[in-house]
């Protein structure tokens, strides 16, 4: 038997938000009487970290500690409209809406503070630790808590803000396809290293190395979650998954997690990741979004690595050992693979 190693690469980009835009999201931010903030959304956290990302964006914008912000989602009676959690739109679209709402709330907070400190709001800054101080004179400061109490009970101000973010819907030229699909794109390059058993067609993914450009990583740990989990899913798409094993024939469809194949914890490999940040001009703090695109480069990178290892191209997903073995037999084994014929 012979096991052959190979490396494959893929470079991809991915549009952020719904194609053509037209997908608004709203946010409401308000303070309670003691200076703790609530973000009201109708956006969904299905594991990607929506609550946590918008929480950090809100705290940064308000200039308060993240512990002083809580994100409440998703209740249609209290949370304003959001198009939904898909199309890698959460961080970019909802993040921008939260930022706008937080800016509005911050302006009221600074006015209220200015009134208490008897200075011009423009002379004030937040210290990010729960206090508002006069620029250059940190001893002249007031806590956000006291500002909120004063605003509510003395000044009659609501420390609150509304935000919406909408990328206007783009037209599409039916003849040429001219359109504005997205305002920014994330990028990635992934290199996969595999080992192929030329007697059975079985593939082992040995290592992945990647660089992802995501605008701003609002939270590196959540980005890591997406990239590690997403590349696992990409590997799964590449080599394992299908609800129709004999597509386009619909027979033998899996009914459970024994029959629906996905890599187990014994099939995973080390993944060395670099994250680059080229801020998106219209992203919240330049953020784009890693959610969907992280899986995409893995499929072709693995396919190309298999070619590099044994010289066969499998252009139909999933790349099952059977397909590889059939191709190897058709080509008379792994050795002496010829370059694909170019016409």
């Amino acid at each position: 038997m012979a096991k052959h190693r190979g490396r494959g690469v893929a470079t991809i980009n991915y549009p952020i938000g719904m194609n053509l835009g037209g997908d608004p999201s709203q946010a409401l931010v308000h303070s309670n009487p003691t200076g703790k903030f609530t973000v009201a959304l109708s956006s969904i956290d299905l594991g990607q970290g929506m609550k946590s990302v918008t929480r950090q964006i809100c705290a940064e914008t308000l200039g308060v500690p993240v512990e002083d912000v809580y994100v409440d989602t998703a209740d249609s009676d209290t949370g304003p409209h959001c198009m939904g959690s898909f199309a890698s739109r959460g961080t970019h679209r909802v993040g921008n809406a939260v930022m706008a709402a937080a800016r509005e709330a911050r302006a009221v907070m600074m006015e209220a503070a200015a009134e208490e400190l008897e200075v011009d709001p423009g002379d004030l800054e937040t210290d990010g630790r729960g206090a508002i101080q006069v620029k250059g004179a940190p001893h002249r400061s007031i806590s956000v808590r006291d500002v909120a109490i004063a605003a509510q009970f003395k000044q009659g101000k609501t420390i609150s803000g509304r935000g919406i973010f909408l990328v206007p819907l783009s037209d599409v030229n039916p003849e040429t396809g001219e359109m504005s699909p997205a305002t920014c794109y994330a990028h990635a390059c992934l290199i996969a290293e595999v080992e192929v058993d030329d007697e059975t067609g079985e593939v082992t993914v040995l290592k992945m190395t990647s660089a992802y450009e995501l605008g701003r990583a609002i939270n590196p740990k959540l980005v890591e979650q997406q990239l590690v989990g997403g590349t696992w899913m990409g590997m799964s798409h590449a080599l394992y998954e299908t609800p129709e094993p004999y597509y386009p024939d619909t027979r033998e469809g899996p009914r459970d997690f024994n029959e629906y194949l996905m890599p187990g914890p014994g099939d995973i490999c080390p993944h060395d990741i670099a994250v680059l940040e080229r801020p998106a001009p219209d992203g919240p703090f330049g953020a784009k979004g890693p959610g969907e695109m992280c899986a995409n480069p893995v499929l072709p990178a693995v396919a190309n690595a298999i070619f590099n290892a044994v010289g066969v191209r499998i252009d139909e997903l999933p790349i099952t050992p059977e397909k590889i073995l059939r191709a190897l037999k058709a080509r008379g084994g792994a050795a002496g693979a010829a370059l694909p014929r170019a016409r």
Partner: protein, 537 residues
């Protein structure tokens, strides 16, 4: 392990931030590890009823008759729901944004168009009672011929799947049976190309397989409202869809969700809410509609299987001068979101590369299988698979390192894209440089100096002479790419040509033919295989 490369594009960022960029713990993590995060099904109600669906055993059939008398009398059964009971029994998800015709019933009445299509719903006091009642329903079907292959479905005389789109293709702009993309003159360019590479790629359908299946609980509230606990990925999308199907004012519905056990695109379709609400209205009791794992696997909408043909025209120096794509999205029996994905796919062509002549035709095709829907990377994942396998083949065909071949053709700021918008904020080349460095993938100096910024930097790569030279040594892992200094390329990158203009001339210096595989080396381009050239012996 994750490394933040703050050194790259540092000049475009202000990193003086207090909360953003910090590895703050997730707001929901404590709830997750203590089992106290409340998902839609973690709400309890007295007298909860359970809704189960009788599904079509046929991929395509006419319904002759339905006899549910025995089921109606079965123990625990509170209500049988048929298509006629559904206030608005025809809908398409994107009607909310005026895109497409209503084409899908909540419960089939005359024809079933895929195996697993809902026909009758039973509402009972327990799941078991509902399941036992389903077994008592007798439906008489007249099986019809079915079509499962996207290209078969487009042939003249093919079985017509979807009544709203009798030709088996979604209708774009009330005018075309597909989405077009036209830029430059691809056909003329193929005539000029040194190499033409024409390939076929097939994506598999994919099941989202979230550990929590689709589901919802509809609870009658005071004053005629209904509270709906749901696993939806799109709260108002589902609310408005449910309101439309139930012909209710949207403010009679109070949707609560937001904590969902995975979705990946499979919880956008609002598969359970409309009937749960209808059942709650008809019985006056709280009703849960939860898909079984088997239902989720086979009848919950999957990622569709796209078939993609890609034809490239390539010059020997590695420049791609033309790319033609024909893509077929297997939408299954109904539209759901595939019509949208086809446009997104067209927008993504030709990928992150600057190619002066591009032509694409993307079809949303109906077949007799479970309707497809959105999934992570919707409209793009399959195309990227095809494009990046194609790029690998192109590199081999011209004898270039696959990564350098991509970097040569990569889009830079200011390049014109096929959908006629200028590229900006690009970073493909920098990703390639960093990944190559981490993986000790040998890149020649001029490629390590390249940049995504306007122009793209450096001398023309892939020229005749140096391709025959020995593989460039791998850069030491420690080295960082040379500082990125924007400058113009010294060769004319193919300009974004208007439709009538001819493709760019071939390179002045004649290029040698594609490099031949050195005997005994590994497969792929020579420089490429240098990575593992000795491993196998």
């Amino acid at each position: 392990m994750l490394e933040l490369r703050k050194d790259i594009f540092a000049d475009e960022r202000d990193d003086n931030l207090k909360e953003v960029g910090k590895p703050t713990q997730r707001q929901d993590m404590l709830g997750h590890v203590t089992g106290t995060s409340a998902y839609y099904d973690d709400h309890r109600f007295a007298n909860l009823l359970h809704l189960k669906i009788l599904r079509s055993p046929h991929a395509h059939a006419r319904i002759r008759s339905i006899d549910d008398a025995a089921a109606a009398r079965a123990p625990g059964v509170k209500r049988i729901i048929r298509g006629a009971d559904v206030p608005v029994n025809l809908n398409t998800l994107l009607s909310l944004i005026q895109f497409g015709k209503d084409d899908e019933p909540s419960l089939a009445t005359d024809v079933v168009r895929y195996k697993g299509e809902p026909v009758v719903a039973v509402v009972a006091t327990s799941e078991r009672a509902a399941l036992e009642a389903l077994a008592l329903i007798r439906v008489s079907y007249e099986p019809l011929p079915a079509v499962f292959d996207v290209e078969e479905a487009l042939k003249p005389g093919a079985v017509s799947v979807n009544a709203a789109y009798p030709k088996n293709t979604f209708e774009y702009y009330n005018k075309y049976d597909h989405q077009k993309l036209r830029f430059g003159d691809a056909d003329a360019a193929f005539a000029q190309a040194d190499i033409v590479l024409d390939e076929r790629y097939q994506m598999s359908p994919i099941e989202h397989a979230p550990t929590e299946t689709n589901g919802s609980i509809a609870v009658p509230d005071t004053n005629g409202r209904f509270i709906v606990y749901t696993s939806t990925q799109a709260l108002f999308f589902s609310l408005d869809t449910a309101a439309k199907i139930n012909a209710m004012p949207s403010n009679q519905l109070h949707f609560i969700g937001g904590t969902v056990g995975g979705g990946f695109g499979g919880k956008v379709d609002t598969l359970t809410e409309p009937l749960a609400i209808l059942a709650a209205r008809l019985t006056g009791a709280p009703v849960r509609h939860r898909l079984s794992r088997h239902e989720e696997m086979q009848f919950g909408s999957p990622r569709g299987g796209e078939r993609i043909y890609i034809k490239d025209g390539i010059m020997r120096d590695g420049r791609i001068i033309a790319r033609k794509v024909r893509a077929y999205f297997d939408s299954g029996a109904y539209t759901r979101l595939s019509s949208y994905a086809a446009v997104k796919c067209a927008a993504h062509i030709p990928g992150p590369y600057t190619i002066p002549n591009v032509s694409a035709d993307v079809y949303c095709v109906y077949t007799n299988r479970t309707p497809a829907t959105a999934m992570r990377g919707f409209g793009v994942t399959a195309l990227d698979f095809g494009l990046e396998c194609q790029m690998d083949k192109g590199a081999v065909a011209v004898g270039m390192d696959p990564l350098e071949y991509r970097m040569l053709n990569a889009y830079r700021d200011g390049d014109m894209k096929a959908h006629r918008r200028e590229a900006k904020n690009c970073a493909l080349i920098e990703c390639a440089q960093v990944a190559a460095e981490k993986a000790s993938w040998p890149l020649r100096d001029e490629f390590r100096r390249m940049s995504s910024r306007t122009g793209g930097g450096v001398q023309r790569a892939g020229g005749g002479a140096d391709r025959t030279r020995a593989p460039a040594p791998a850069p030491a892992p420690a080295t960082r790419p040379a500082p990125v200094t924007p400058q113009r390329v010294s060769y004319e990158r193919p300009a974004a040509a208007p439709a009538q203009s001819a493709p760019p001339p071939p390179p002045r210096t004649p290029s040698p033919p594609p490099a031949v595989q050195p005997a005994g080396s590994t497969h792929g381009a020579p420089r490429f295989s240098s990575v593992f050239g000795t491993r196998r012996r």
